[in-house]
């Protein structure tokens, strides 16, 4: 074990002050990813700032009819929260599809956003990885890349973001509340994570001195027509090869609003505004869904082992939109696909 200094943050202001003062320090909340990365020597923080005791654990209704979720609400509590289950069932479903009960009990909402890729080459410190060691190269591009990205990749990096929760947050148009030295700001979830470009070591747009304090959900929860479908190599406890979150607002068989985001295919939850525009005003049926899928995957590119994801994603998009339109969302308890 690499020795590190352990400090506790007294409050959000103190947390910000501490992280701003020490560029190599890391926040720790549930630790479900950071501890793992420290064991693999991928992360070697000399200092951990424990934020798990900060009072960011409430789920409150907002004046606009939405929900404000504290950054330290455990994933399990969020998934089972009555207001989330009623108004944002796609969020409950996405969370329940991920990890295991034990991990969900420990993992925090904010931590889920900043978890790091599961690319094999990122995790093996003997391998070249631009995300872990900028400039070292990407061994995954010509390596075992079956789990890697097909959208928004760069020559530097083909890693995916592993979160299920964030895919649901993307279709819900959630906002991330952050606080830094210069005050607080909001970042739309879709703008929170980045594409790798030539700086794959930067996962997201959170500044060095900022802490996530809350996630805010707008009033529109798509409780009637939604689905989260996760496709993976076994029926639980595996990361998504492809996952799809679909949310529809229907009006006499036509799509008034359609939202679509994919997981397991890109460096960030992949929301396609263009595909959503193609859904708008159309009949909620297979042709419309197939057209949307075409748009999402128009620029998809495989790297050999992961070529199959392109066609799989196409089928999964159509199926998930169908589940949403039929109001038969995918169950995460019964693994049978609907």
């Amino acid at each position: 074990m690499i020795k590190f200094q352990y400090d506790r943050a007294a409050d959000v202001t103190d947390a910000v002050r501490q992280i701003a003062a020490d560029p190599e320090a890391r926040f720790i909340a549930g630790g479900t990813n950071l501890i793992d990365l420290m064991k693999y020597q991928v992360e070697r923080p000399p200092r951990l700032i424990d934020i798990s005791r900060l009072p960011l654990t409430s789920v409150e209704e907002t004046p606009g009819g939405g929900l404000r979720i504290g950054a330290l609400v455990p994933n399990t509590d969020l998934a089972y929260h009555p207001l989330v289950e009623q108004r944002y069932p796609i969020l409950s479903s996405a969370i329940m599809s991920g990890a295991s009960q034990q991990l969900r009990n420990m993992a925090s909402t904010g931590g889920n956003l900043v978890q790091r890729t599961r690319c094999f080459y990122f995790y093996d410190v003997t391998m070249a990885c631009n995300k872990r060691q900028p400039g070292s190269g990407c061994a995954a591009i010509k390596g075992i890349n079956r789990i890697n990205a097909i959208l928004g990749t760069s020559e530097s990096c083909i890693a995916t973001h592993p979160s299920d929760m964030c895919v649901a947050l993307a279709v819900l148009d959630a906002k991330v509340h952050v606080t830094g030295l210069s005050g607080s700001r909001e970042i739309a979830v879709v703008d929170f994570h980045r594409l790798p470009g030539d700086t794959p070591q930067i996962d997201n747009n959170l500044r060095r001195d900022e802490i996530i304090t809350a996630i805010e959900l707008p009033a529109q929860g798509f409780a009637a027509n939604h689905s989260y479908l996760k496709i993976r190599d076994r029926l639980s406890y595996a990361f998504a090869l492809v996952s799809v979150a679909a949310a529809l607002e229907l009006e006499s068989g036509r799509i008034k609003t359609g939202r679509l985001a994919l997981g397991g295919v890109a460096h960030k939850p992949w929301r396609s505004v263009e595909a959503e525009a193609a859904l708008r005003g159309q009949a909620a049926g297979p042709e419309t869904f197939a057209r949307a899928a075409e748009i999402v995957l128009r620029d998809a590119k495989g790297f050999g082992h992961n070529d199959f994801k392109i066609d799989l994603a196409r089928r999964a998009i159509v199926r998930t939109l169908t589940q949403a339109a039929n109001a038969t969302p995918q169950s995460q308890a019964d693994k049978r696909i609907r």
């Binding site: 020795k3 020597q41 295991s100 029926l235 696909i337």
Partner: protein, 776 residues
Amino acid sequence: MSTDVNRRDPLATTVAFGSIETANAQAAVQATAQQQASKSMSSYIGTPTSRVDGRAKVTGQAKYAGELNVAGLVYGSAVGATVAKGRIVRINADDALKVPGVLDVLTHQNRPRMADNDQAYRDDAAPESGAPYRPLYDDRILFNGQPVALVLAEDWETARYAAMLVRVEYKAEDHVTDLHAARGSAFVVEKPEKPRGDAAKAFAAAAVRHEAEYFIPIEHHNPMELFASTVVWSDDGKLTVYDKTQGVQNVQRYLCGVFGLKSDDVTVMSPFMGGGFGSGLRPQYQVVLAVLGAMSLKRPVRLVLNRAQMYGVGYRPATIERLALGARANGELEAITHEAIAVTSQYEDFSRNDTGWSGILYKSPNARYTHKLARLDLPTSGDMRAPGAATGVYALEAAMDELAVALKLDPVELRLRCYSDRDQNEDLPFTSKSLRECYRQGAEAFGWSKRNPEPRSMRDGKELVGWGMATGVWEALQMPASARIVLTANGHTEVATAASDIGTGTYTIMAQVAADRMGVPIDNVTVRLGDSTLPACPIEGGSWIAASVSHAIIGAADEVRGELLRIAKTMPDTPFADALAGDVVLTNGKLARAGDVARSVPIADVMRHGKVEHIERIKDNTFADISKYARNTHSAVFVEVKIDEEIGIIRVTRAVSAVAAGRILNPKTAGNQVVGSVVGGIGMALHEETLIDHAFGRIMNANIAEYHVPVHADIHDIKVIFVDEPDSIINPLGMKGVGEIGIVGVAAAVANAIYHATGKRVRDLPITLDKLQRQL
């Protein structure tokens, strides 16, 4: 034969498992019928019996090799090579040695002395040919992950940290780790199975032919418990080694050889083991490193491998299997050609029998088997549950399914038409072969008669439904073993042998057999095993331990009974004056006339009369010469899959495994073995694969998050049927082992079910959704 032997019990022992739907669900084990009656009516043998060590395990009282606390313990951490082949140029341990708490860093340059000849490193499970790997011996790198240094520190965290600071420079050489790239240079290994007739000619002339190649990737055992050794060094230079191993005496002899120690100087203990699946048959490198550490520091040392390092030991070899089957129009086989190309290391030739199994199952006048090995820059491959059969029978049984399709024959019917009552490889009859009953009872329990033979014909909503089956076969082996029984005057019985219980239930069956033969309640029996100083016992593998040990116990118990009889004959008014050894039994704490148990004397009275506090006997097992018989276990496996074809999701919703394995000693633990094996077979079919980046010769999914085995969500109903199989030839108890038979054929049954559901044949395991999709 007596009527007993010919009797077919309509009520086979059945172990039924409810649906396992959530992570918290407990599999309910219910034995619904009793094992066949035995001539010597016994109360424990054949009765479902809970593990005698279960309480110790769930309460944490059972201490494993890496858990033993010793004063002054030193902790080790191994440093692994990061190239697949080459030489160590330089090792710089300066930074590691500077860390407070680090005691030493051992490498090939400063380690204590080790033997310099191959024979010293050859253990009981080593391949006959080749030079066994010598841990930390010299500068040669034979595989990626090979240990190159051992850091020793006062605590584990320090050792692990300092291990990161050891810098190793290599001169890398070109390597090859891809079987497909190396198949051209594979060489033939001699196997005992001889060819029959002219398979090539008969195949060419056959009315219906099927020929295809199948592939099984490298799989790793992944037992829950990590390889661990705690070595206690005493001032007199003697070593007590607590090791995770399937053979304490094997490790003991190995360590004596490697370190030039006298037999009395090394004791190896392994009282509990958290799973082995064959990975612990050979001594693994952590025990050598831990001993090196202890000898060097003259202190107790513990070394536990981490999960990634568990992928740097043995594995199931990737194997390419080619089958060519030729048949008459009625399904009778005319020709079988089975070729296998399997992985071994550059330094040892490990191989098992992949290709000969058809000769045990199916009649064919012509057969040819070829087994080849490809040398790769990997550790030596090794035994993993049903080695050879899990792979070879997968290919055979998938090929038989393809032949049945070509013949338009029901897969069970094809197998019955080809059924062989003799082992054709050896031209011998079987001690017993109740495979027909396996097919019949398995098919009935599964509902096979309702199967529509047409692929893609059965549906359940959106899902395609597929029903597939396969045959399983394994060996029924028994090895020389010795057991000791100590009977105390109060009726307490201690039974001991140097066996391992790798989680299979050896403690429990030893207690059952001893309790029955000594006529005492099972609670009065203490079992000792996993200690190299106990009577000789082979490594725990090959499904041979139960039969081997049980008959040694019977022998020892009979000797104790003989001694009691000798004493009892001297008692006044003895009822045994004219009794011979076979005329008396031990029952309810008494020595009694076999046919008239009322004529008896309490054991305590006998011993008091003889003025003995305990009677101790050690006995080797003895078996009649059965070399004129083939000895095998058999099974029929039926599987239902449901497939969402568009998305590629495969669910194994039902499995029935009907096993013929002679008399079942403990239907509860035996049923558990078969259920676990079926889960393993499902993993083999759908999930398990060690992924190597061949450019680096390095395993990329060396952890149990990315190396997939089935989770609860993947497992549904598994029903186990033990078919009644009286066997009066194989051994006095008529028993065969069940540790391995349960996995054989399962992967083929799943693959065949997937074909039936979809009409798509995926021959490369595991059958992942991308492979299925490629065929759509």
